[in-house]
Every structure is written in C-alpha cells, then in structure tokens.
C-alpha cells in the first residue's frame, strides 16, 4: 500500500513489473517507478502488433537520433554528433543534444531511440554516482559501460533501440566503449554509430592517425559529421564537438552544418584556384581541362547558393580557414 511516496528511485535498478489491476491501486500504478509491461502473453511483441494494421499517420513514431562518432588519439578522445531527431518522415527536432553529459568526466552519445538513450544514460549517471558514494572513488569507464550493457540486456528483444558510445578518462587513461541495445559491448579506438555512420567512417578512416594534433582531430571529426549530414537524409542540423581530456570533458563547438559546408566549399575553391594557377590557365578553363571530369552537380548548387545568399537563408560565404 502506498502510504508514503515510493522510494523506488533509490533502488539499484528499474525492475520490470506486470501491472495487475487486482493488485495495484491506480495510485500505486501511477506513482511506481517500475517499468510497466502490458498484460498480454507476449509483451515483447505488443507494441509492434498494436500498429500492425494502422495507417502511417496513426502509427506511433519515436524520436530517433542518427550520426555520431568518437575516436581516441594521442590527445584524448574527440566525440562529434549531429542534432537531427526524425520521427518517421517528420523532423522532430533539429537541435537535439546527442552528447549526453553523464558526469563531468564521462560522456555518452545518443543514436537510435532518443528516449531510450536519454533515460538509460541518465540512469547510468545515477548508478555511477552511487558507486562513487559507496566506494569513495570514481567508477572506471569500463565498469560504467558494463553497467549500461547489463541493464539493457535485461530488456533484450523488447524493442529498445540504443547505440551509444561511453567515453571518459579514468586512472588508466582514456577509454571508449560501444554499447548497444542488443547487449554488444566493444572496446575500441574509433567508432561511428547511426544511419549516417558509413559516410562518417569514410572520411574518418581516410584522415585518422594516432599522432594527430588536437586541432587537426577536431577538424577531422567535424568534417566527418558534416559529410554524413550532407548525404544522409536522417542526419542534419548542428554539429557538436566535445574533447575528453585528463581532467574531464570540454565542449569545443556547436556549428550549423551549413557553416561547415561554406568552409569546405571555400577551401575547395582555394585548391582549385591554386591548381589552375599552377597549370597556368584560368579557373574555368582549368576545371574543364581537369581530366575531363563530369560536370559537378554541386556547381548548380553554387548558383543556387548565390541567389539564396542574397535572400538571406544560407550563411554568408566563409573565407577558408
């Protein structure tokens, strides 16, 4: 009987419970923090079956997150993410914070279901704090990622969608683990997760080296996400970059992807102009002579950009950095 407010939130885990009307009063049902299961034979299939015959507009869509990446290098860990949350075809938000600050020295990323990631990573933060209070020392990154992996393994098969990277710098150095809702937990130096991850991997793998400088690493991370947002429809918005150092993490930047687009374009133009100058030809003739390359589809976009810039809905052209 709920005579006092439930203190379930202090227990070490959220437990599954069958909400049985005969046993729980509405007050208990509504105020319990246990994760409720539908009272059917196969709860894992319930949500999928509920919308099996539904039209698209009636279906429940949950917010999904998309391109994230993180890598370890000599200067620590860089994490970069986009900020688009899609709900089916609709863009639920263009400003989602997909890097979750679990505590001042641990970061988690969000890919897959937005609610699943935010909820379980917040729960992870709670358990890391409990560990710290009980053991008088900070939890290691490996232990934190294992806590998360074991938690979601308890819900395996029930439809959780979560692909996250847990990263931090503990007493044994910087560590990066990939954890997902299937129960996978992998330690590694370089991961990219989400629908745009293939695009990000291409750019990231091409430019990565352990001995990179910090600025170079940040630029590489930002460019990788930019290319993913450019090509993946479900990625976009703002590119957020964080750096994990020995004392904790620090937020580096938050740039609209169009700003990075202008930077990349300006750099390419510089390179093209330099090539043309070296070949001793004008820029236009230089492009035409350059190995008979097929007309660049983005050149049509340039004229579009010029008129759009005069209307004011794209960022002003940047000078190459």
């Amino acid at each position: 009987m709920a005579s006092a407010p439930s203190l379930d939130f202090l227990s070490t885990s959220f437990s599954l419970s069958r909400t049985d009307d005969a046993r729980l009063t509405p007050l208990q049902q509504g105020t319990s923090s246990a994760i409720a299961l539908p009272m059917v034979d196969q709860p894992a299939n319930f949500l999928r079956d509920a919308f099996a015959g539904a039209s698209e507009k009636d279906r429940l869509h949950f917010a999904h997150g998309t391109t994230t990446l993180a890598f370890v290098f000599q200067g620590g860990i860089i994490a970069a993410v986009d900020s688009r949350a899609s709900m089916g075809q609709y863009v639920g938000s263009g400003t989602v914070k997909k890097i979750i600050e679990i505590n001042p020295y641990l970061l988690g990323t969000m890919a897959g279901g937005a609610a699943d990631c935010s909820f379980w990573e917040r729960d992870l933060g709670r358990r890391c704090r409990l560990y710290q209070l009980r053991n008088k020392q900070r939890i290691s990154v490996a232990a934190a990622s294992k806590l998360l992996a074991n938690t979601v393994y308890g819900y395996k098969g029930m439809g959780l969608s979560m692909g996250t990277m847990i990263m931090g710098w503990d007493v044994s150095g910087p560590h990066l683990h990939y954890v997902d809702s299937e129960g996978t937990r992998l330690k590694g130096h370089k991961f990219s997760v989400g629908s745009g991850s293939t695009y990000a991997y291409g750019v990231l793998d091409a430019g990565y080296s352990w001995d990179m400088g910090v600025e170079e690493a940040i630029t590489l991370a930002r460019r990788s996400i930019y290319h993913a947002t450019h090509r993946d429809a479900a990625s976009g918005g703002v590119i957020n970059v964080y750096h994990v150092k020995e004392g904790g993490w620090v937020k580096i930047s938050s740039d609209d992807m169009m700003i990075i687009h202008e930077q990349v374009k300006a750099e390419k133009k510089l390179v093209d102009d330099a090539t043309a100058a070296a070949l001793g030809t004008t820029a236009e003739a230089g492009e035409g002579a350059a190995a008979g390359s097929p007309p660049d589809p983005t050149s049509a976009q340039d004229t579009g950009d010029a008129s759009a810039a005069s209307r004011g809905n794209v960022p002003p052209p940047a000078s190459a950095t």
Binding site: P5, P26, L27, Q29, G30, T31, S32, S33, A34, I35, A36, L37, P38, V40, P43, A44, F46, L47, D49, A50, F51, A52, G53, A54, S55, K57, D58, L60, H61, F62, A63, A85, M87, Y90, G92, S93, G94, T95, V96, K97, G113, A114, A115, D116, S118, F119, M158, G159, L160, M258, G312, N313, V314, P315, P316
Partner: protein
C-alpha cells in the same frame, strides 16, 4: 444478433458487425489476419473465414487517435500554451469542447494531444504526483522538475506507451519562459516554441520561422511580446483549422506570467 456473428470476418471485439472497412481511421485493430482485406464485409452469418486467409484472431485494441493540436511558445518572462478542443474519431466529432490542458502549478501548464483516454489517465496521474511532491517537499514543482518527471513517467510506459503528444510550458525558477516538447515515450527537449498533434506539420514551420528565426542569417532576431505571440498563435490555429480536419471548434489559450495563469478562449470554424 446471430450466434456466429463473432466469427464473421471483420467482426470487432465488441461483437457488433464491423461497419468500417479495414484500416479506416476509426481505430486500428490488432491481429487482423491476412485475408481480412479481401473478405467481403457482407459475408453471411455462419461463414467462417476461409482457411486460405489464415486463422481469425482478435485481440485487445488499445489505441485510437482523437486528433487535436497543441503548442507552447515561450518568450521573455512568459509562456503561452494553447490547444484546440475538438475530439475527433474517424470522420466523426464526438465532442467540440474537450480540454487538453492541465494547469499543473501557477507556473507550469501541460497540453496533450493524441488519445483522449490516455491523456486523461496521464493528467490524473500527474495530479497525484504533484500533490505528493507538494506534501513531501513543502513547495510546488518547478518547471524543470516537472519536465523531468513527465519524461520519466512516459518512459515507465515504454512498452505500452501513453498515446499522447505532450507539450509543457511555463516559467522556470529564474523567471524565464521555456517550452518542452515530448515524443510518446518521454524524449524531451527544452525549446522556445513547439507544436504537437495532427496540425504539427502545418504549424511548427511557422513557429520555426517567426519565433526561432531558423536559417535567417541576415535578419535580426526579434523578441515577440505576449500580445504579439498570442496573435501569432490565433493565426496559426485559424490556418491549421482550415487544412486539418481534426483541428477546429475552439482554442484554449493559457498565458503564463509571473502573475499566474490566465486562460482565454476563442472560436474557430465549426466545420
């Protein structure tokens, strides 16, 4: 009613013959077998579904979409939460005046669209939690606390969600106005302007343009006053009511300032 009526293809759980064709907007049935779409609605009593179409299953139909649009727009020192009051069910309008708004405290207001039954249960549970918080902590819930609590409550129903699309608006402890948008299982984000429900795709772009000045690089951002915000919201609902069949009838507008919550209502087209 014939005894074998329940076995007819297309029979509903309540035993009445299904008047609607499969997949109509009156609701979505669970476990319809593959042959239902091809079965003639006027099948004779006693004719069991053909074996070629598979076994006839009937399960609990938990959800329906009652439509409606809700929004919350925050400004300097105020927040406006508004919703229409039409209850739709398929092509019918069972009610023109249902309230989708819950005044949680003097500084926090919630509006929920989606399924009316889930909205009522969610609001009832929230009211219980508000009273518990008030009695335990001797103070009203703040906007940030309420926003996190709603997210957690929605997530505890992760595997049998509340079919509700919520927006929360109010004044935080610093006197700033903020709005929160939620998905069905509790993913939430603090924003300046958010719209949910059947008119979401019609109104959200207008809010992005006029309140957030999204992708307008040259234009200076203007802070709208409370009156200008309410005018914008009226126009938004009027236009959404033209193009969305589930939005219309009346609009309830709650203006939250440091002086409390002021509710006004205005009428939309009743068609």
């Amino acid at each position: 009613m014939d005894a074998l009526g329940l076995l007819r293809p297309g029979a509903s759980v309540s035993g009445l013959p299904a008047a609607h064709t499969p997949g109509a907007a009156t609701g979505f049935a669970l476990g319809d077998h593959a042959g239902r779409a091809q079965a003639a609605p006027a099948a004779e009593p006693g004719v069991v579904a053909s074996t070629a179409s598979g076994p006839l299953q009937r399960r609990f139909q938990p959800y329906q979409n009652n439509g409606g649009t809700v929004l919350a727009v925050a400004g300097k020192g105020f927040c406006v939460v508004a919703s229409d009051t039409r209850l739709g069910l398929g092509y019918s309008i069972p009610s023109r005046k249902v309230s989708r708004i819950l005044k949680m405290t003097d500084k926090v207001v919630l509006a929920s669209s989606g399924m009316q039954a889930d909205m009522l249960t969610l609001h009832k549970t929230l009211r219980m939690r508000l009273v518990q918080y008030q009695q335990t902590h001797q103070k009203h819930m703040s906007l940030t606390a309420a926003s996190q609590m709603l997210s957690n409550m929605l997530y505890t129903r992760r595997f049998f969600p509340y079919y509700t699309f919520n927006v929360l608006g109010g004044i935080d402890e610093n006197g700033e106005g903020w709005a929160y948008g939620y998905d069905a299982i509790g993913s939430h984000e603090k924003v300046s302007a958010v719209c949910s429900g059947t008119g979401q795709t019609l109104i959200q772009p207008v809010l992005d343009n006029q309140i957030e000045f999204k992708q307008q690089w040259g234009a200076p951002k203007v802070d709208l006053s409370l009156e200008a915000t309410v005018e914008l919201i009226r126009d938004a609902f009027t236009s959404a009511g033209e193009r969305d069949i589930y939005t219309g009838d009346f609009v309830e507008i709650c203006k939250i300032t440091k002086d409390g919550v002021d509710v006004e209502e205005f009428q939309l087209k009743l068609d």
